[in-house]
Symmetry: C2
Subunit: 333 residues, 2 copies
Amino acid sequence: MKVTMKQIAKEANVSTATVSHVINGTKHITEEKYKKIMEIINKYNYMPNSTAKNLRQKKTKTAGLIVSSFPDTFITEMVYGVEERAREMGYNLLLINTNEDRNYEEETMNLLYSRMVDGVILSPTSNDIEYLNKFTNEEFPVVLVNRYNDTAKNIPKVTGDNFQTGYDATIHLLRHGHKKIGMIYGVSNVSTTDDRIRGYKEALNQHNIPFNENYMELGHATVLGGAAAVKSLLKRHSDITALFIQNDLMTIGAISQIKESLLNIPEDIALIGFGDFASAPIIDPPVTNIMLPPDIIGRTAFDALLSKINNSDYKKHIELPPSLITRKSCGCK
Amino acid sequence: MKVTMKQIAKEANVSTATVSHVINGTKHITEEKYKKIMEIINKYNYMPNSTAKNLRQKKTKTAGLIVSSFPDTFITEMVYGVEERAREMGYNLLLINTNEDRNYEEETMNLLYSRMVDGVILSPTSNDIEYLNKFTNEEFPVVLVNRYNDTAKNIPKVTGDNFQTGYDATIHLLRHGHKKIGMIYGVSNVSTTDDRIRGYKEALNQHNIPFNENYMELGHATVLGGAAAVKSLLKRHSDITALFIQNDLMTIGAISQIKESLLNIPEDIALIGFGDFASAPIIDPPVTNIMLPPDIIGRTAFDALLSKINNSDYKKHIELPPSLITRKSCGCK
DNA sequence: TTGAAAGCGCTAACAG
DNA sequence: CTGTTAGCGCTTTCAA
């Protein structure tokens, strides 16, 4: 049987209150009693029951992190950022992956809401997050990360600036002289994709190039999905000379497929990927990527959650800027 | 204020026991009362407080997962496997990354032991895990994953067969005619590395090639670390013709470095990496890897934890076999 | 400086 | 079929 505070108290001939104070340093206890209590605690290797503590104090020092696609490079590093910051701030993290399942996401929110955690950081599966209002109305701290939309009110958000991401990548391709730029993405109806498309359109618009819906291709966010997506896109539009690909695995698949089609990168097809994955510099050809800082987004999201926990009115939207890392695949050098 | 079971009971003119039974389906309740209770529950969007439930039931349906290096490709996918299996079995997962900090690992174990979780899956930082006995002696369910050693008694383990991994990779290189095979690794004094080295030695031994300590090179498990490691190793032994590299990031760095040294792969240096990372087929040259199945290891580890929770005598060691994926970097094709 | 006691919200005997 | 009641192990007034 696990030893409890009561037993420690009994053996030390003090009350549980005194033991509690010794453990938490909440009041001054005479040297003598303090020593005796500590001795018994060590003797039994006693650890306070945190479930009981949580119940009593109505807080758990635990945060929930719900992501929709794991393991994905961007998400993984974002998780790392959240985890790291949580640890620094003395919090634990409950990690849940919804696997892009909208209903499981809501179920999970319900579960976490039942006082399991002090708040949650959510990277939602879809645009359908109005249901979050039922939690925020109850003052349950929620922050959106990575993906967002505005149907959920009074919620802080930490995201990358995906409009700028789409804009910068497209402008770069445009400057290399491309006019027919395809875009390959892995998830639809989420802000990350939508915002990048808006940026793409804006860049095109500034160059007086009409937007062509058919240059957009949705595929699975996997190596195979990327390969299939280029194949289908180039079949439809063999006039495309450049590609902007929204996910590292898809970029890898796309490159395989392009090589298999005996096309050259960047001569026949120039290409910009997303997220600066480790192997990018040694791929043939080295790949140009535009990236958003996942770890910083994660850390910032945790800080935003802390702000929200301390002040239920907090609802800033923090957007981190992208950076372009040019290599050969876009035509540079 | 959050609504409690007591308030639901009061409004429905029943006892909390009845409400509890309705919620948990633990006893049959008359249709009429059932309906009324459910109605009130829905009206207030009531969710039982799981902290209280946990305290009462002495279990949390939550498991802890402590890893030492995140995000690392292998670990990330292993985390995914654990998470997926936990979800399937109705458990939540508390994820902690120790960042290879041995003391933080022990602190974390203490924390989780305080009834926060029903058990923990640990991928330890070091060989120094004798301290785990203090938990297992208290019947706290712990399973080791990925890394292990035998100073912790009565603990189930789920790992890859790293001896076989080292053996198979080395044999393959040997069959390509290599006799001077360097090995680059990222962590020392852990079973994964040690076992692979044992396998490497055994393969050498079977081919009557003496083991040379100086062909082993430790570096940081990063792209830069991999580059630095080859550089230093080849400087010391320019006669080396093949490399076995223990980590995907290091493999990527090593390839960059070898190219920079104007050496050709596989003609000058043949190479086998570890873990079949996505970009391996499109790197120049495509890289041969030996891999262990991280997701299956993760899933199996969770099942082992469940076994341990249900039977404190459970202590199997499950070892999953490696598989070699040959491409050009080893000299194949 | 310390202790008594109430109670966090729930479950589970047990009794009716 | 339903209610009473006694805790789970801790923190925190309040009083001494």
